[in-house]
């Protein structure tokens, strides 16, 4: 067999990303809801551009105004513009969600990878730890920890900001991810392609990062989307119990929890933030569906069999 000169035109590398985008675009619902999510993100990220009033400007003589041309979503209990608060509130909610989710995914992936890959006592210790975390009712630990973190005077966990909330939610949500990643890793660890990598002299680190991690990525990403939705809802629950992000910074959660008194008299105060949570969570779920399909490397083949 002849030497092949390099001159031969090698097929263009079709990036995983492009393939993924292509697959994703085929999922109608996912695309539709992603557009909505994108719209919300644009609104939320560019909130200052879309607001007519500052989210904190009060007009105490115009409290509880129903939606009107002036105030698209009405005003709240302090006469603040609901539209402005809603789009600004999304910033913190989404950031809390993202942050909490990243923390959870980070810890969970690390624990899961190490545990699944090395097995033995590493696995035993880490899994026991996971079990312990799983055996304490999460919400309760959340409450105790939020209070506890406020007690610590850490500059980056400055009370009143969303950091401690996100840290605590994230720090208590990684167990599912860890188990998932561990299971997947254990399965992959014995796959022939990992053995093959060993045979050609690939070390543990490279095997973990190059061979195992990319293959557990898709379940992780799907879990991440669900975790994001969960974190947003958890934040709102914490706000309800008085442990959420501090006022007057609006989040969808604390906006909702402040409205209980006015559910009948000023329903718009509850409807709009509730609707945003609702839209985002649905959108994220569909996004997750779409990602799951798009990230499956065997997807095409399965479809044809």
């Amino acid at each position: 067999m002849a030497e092949t000169p390099l001159a031969i035109a090698v097929e263009q590398k079709e990036s995983l990303f492009r393939r993924f985008v292509y697959q994703f675009l085929k999922h109608g619902m996912a695309v539709f809801w992603s557009m909505i999510l994108l719209g919300i993100i644009v609104l939320v990220a560019g909130a200052p551009l879309f607001q007519r009033y500052s989210p904190t400007d009060q007009d105490l003589y115009n409290r509880f105004q129903p939606p009107s041309a002036e105030h698209w979503m009405g005003t709240d209990d302090l006469g603040r513009d609901m539209w402005s608060r809603t789009i600004n509130g999304g910033r913190i909610s989404l950031v809390v969600g993202l942050l909490a989710m990243s923390i959870a995914i980070g810890i969970g992936t690390l624990v899961g990878l190490l545990s699944g890959f090395f097995g033995g006592w590493v696995d035993a210790v880490l899994m026991r730890l996971t079990e312990i975390f799983q055996s304490v009712p999460r919400l309760f630990l959340l409450l105790v920890l939020t209070t506890f973190l406020r007690q610590l005077d850490l500059p980056w966990l400055r009370p009143g900001t969303f950091w401690p909330i996100a840290a605590v939610i994230g720090g208590l949500s990684w167990m599912g991810v860890a188990r998932l990643v561990r299971g997947n890793t254990m399965e992959l660890r014995d796959q022939e392609f990992v053995l093959a990598a060993r045979m050609i002299g690939v070390g543990n680190l490279r095997i973990l990062l190059r061979h195992i991690l990319p293959n557990v990525a898709s379940p992780i990403i799907v879990t991440a989307t669900l975790g994001l939705a969960g974190a947003i809802i958890t934040e709102s629950g914490l706000s309800y119990l008085g442990f959420g992000v501090q006022l007057p910074t609006p989040t969808w959660g604390n906006m909702l929890s402040a409205t209980q008194k006015y559910l009948t008299s000023a329903p718009w105060m509850a409807i709009f933030p509730g609707m945003m949570i609702f839209l985002v969570v649905i959108a994220i779920n569909y996004l997750g569906d779409g990602l799951r399909d798009a990230l499956d490397p065997y997807h095409v083949e399965k479809g044809e069999k």
Binding site: P137, F140, T147, G237, Y240, S257, Q260, V281
Partner: protein, 323 residues
């Protein structure tokens, strides 16, 4: 089998021990406590406060307090509530049945909704109905529980009335006060709190059921069952369902800790005298004998139910043997 249970039990004890240390440490480092109720009152003298501190054993360092607590617990004494002065265990046993009733009903309703709909959705994959159910399920998952609960109250006990002007469903409580126990009345009181949680968790279970069912109905043995000429109903109910339920059981086990969290919201909103509320109140008062007892009971329930789930596995799936 016995050996397995024994091992799991031993592990559980270790787990619980570690949890107790963690929680005790956390609780002790959180400010607030029984003394704040008294120190607020200007009429309390310094001597009064010192006497009370001594009485509650708050003068000991935390490890000593923990050791004392543990020693007492090992002897079956979980201590007395700081606030009500009643044995912590009694506080719990007064409320635990209520929570279990609520959670149990919720579980049943959840499964009663989720399983048939999940199956139906799977069998009618990609039909309009399937899409509709999926969307409704997602909607259910995205509702914050407390918000949904209040909404239910407004709809079913403020807006909707019986012909004689009474609320259609009672807004809160376990029973109509001042009446003797009556099953129908208890059921009426269960409807709203149970639906608040059940609708939300049924949503996710329905989705799990759907995908689990979809996994199963493409399995060879389902084809085998059809090949044997079994009617479709039998194929689904006898061959597919039982296999599809196995992953659902895992989920139930994993979901349990979160359910207790849900109980807190339900009990707060619907004035249900359960253990979630007891936890919340005692956490707010740092009533640590009760707090510890509640958390340990919860953790125990979770650990125990995980074990139960594993045992249920062996019933559902003969391939799994425990050793």
């Amino acid at each position: 089998m016995t050996q397995y249970i024994l091992r799991r039990a031993l592990q559980a004890i270790l787990t619980l021990l570690v949890i107790s240390v963690l929680i005790f440490g956390l609780i002790s480092s959180v400010p607030g406590g029984i003394m704040s109720a008294y120190s607020e009152n200007p009429d309390f003298t310094q001597e009064d406060l010192a006497r009370l501190r001594e009485k509650y054993g708050l003068n000991d360092p935390v490890p000593v307090r923990y050791a004392k607590w543990l020693l007492n617990v090992l002897q079956g004494d979980w201590g007395n509530s700081f606030t009500s002065k009643r044995p912590a265990l009694q506080e719990i046993s007064d409320r635990l049945p209520n929570t279990l009733l609520l959670m149990g009903s919720m579980f049943l309703v959840t499964l009663a909704i989720a399983i048939p709909l999940g199956i139906y959705s799977a069998l009618k994959q990609y039909t309009f109905f399937d899409h509709l159910l999926t969307t409704v399920a997602l909607a259910g998952q995205s509702l914050p529980t407390f918000w949904f609960g209040l909404l239910l109250i407004i709809i079913f006990s403020v807006l909707l009335k019986t012909p004689d002007g009474k609320p259609l469903l009672p807004s809160a409580g376990m029973m109509t006060l001042g009446q003797p126990f009556n099953l129908l009345d208890r059921l009426r009181h269960l409807i709203l709190p149970v639906s608040m949680l059940a609708v939300i968790s049924a949503a996710s279970y329905m989705r799990y059921m759907r995908s689990s069912m979809l996994d199963v109905i493409h399995k060879d043995y389902v084809r085998t069952a059809r090949g044997k000429g079994l009617p479709e109903k039998m194929v689904i109910s006898r061959h597919a369902l039982r296999n599809a339920l196995i992953p659902i059981v895992t989920l139930l086990g994993l979901d349990l800790p979160n359910l207790f969290g849900g109980a807190l919201f339900t009990e707060t909103i619907f004035a249900w005298p359960g253990i979630g509320r007891l936890f919340f109140d005692s956490a707010m008062k740092t009533d640590y004998p009760v707090l510890m007892a509640v958390l340990m009971v919860y953790s125990f329930l979770i650990v125990a139910s995980n074990l139960l789930v594993d045992l249920v596995y062996t019933v559902l799936d003969p391939r799994i043997t425990l050793d």
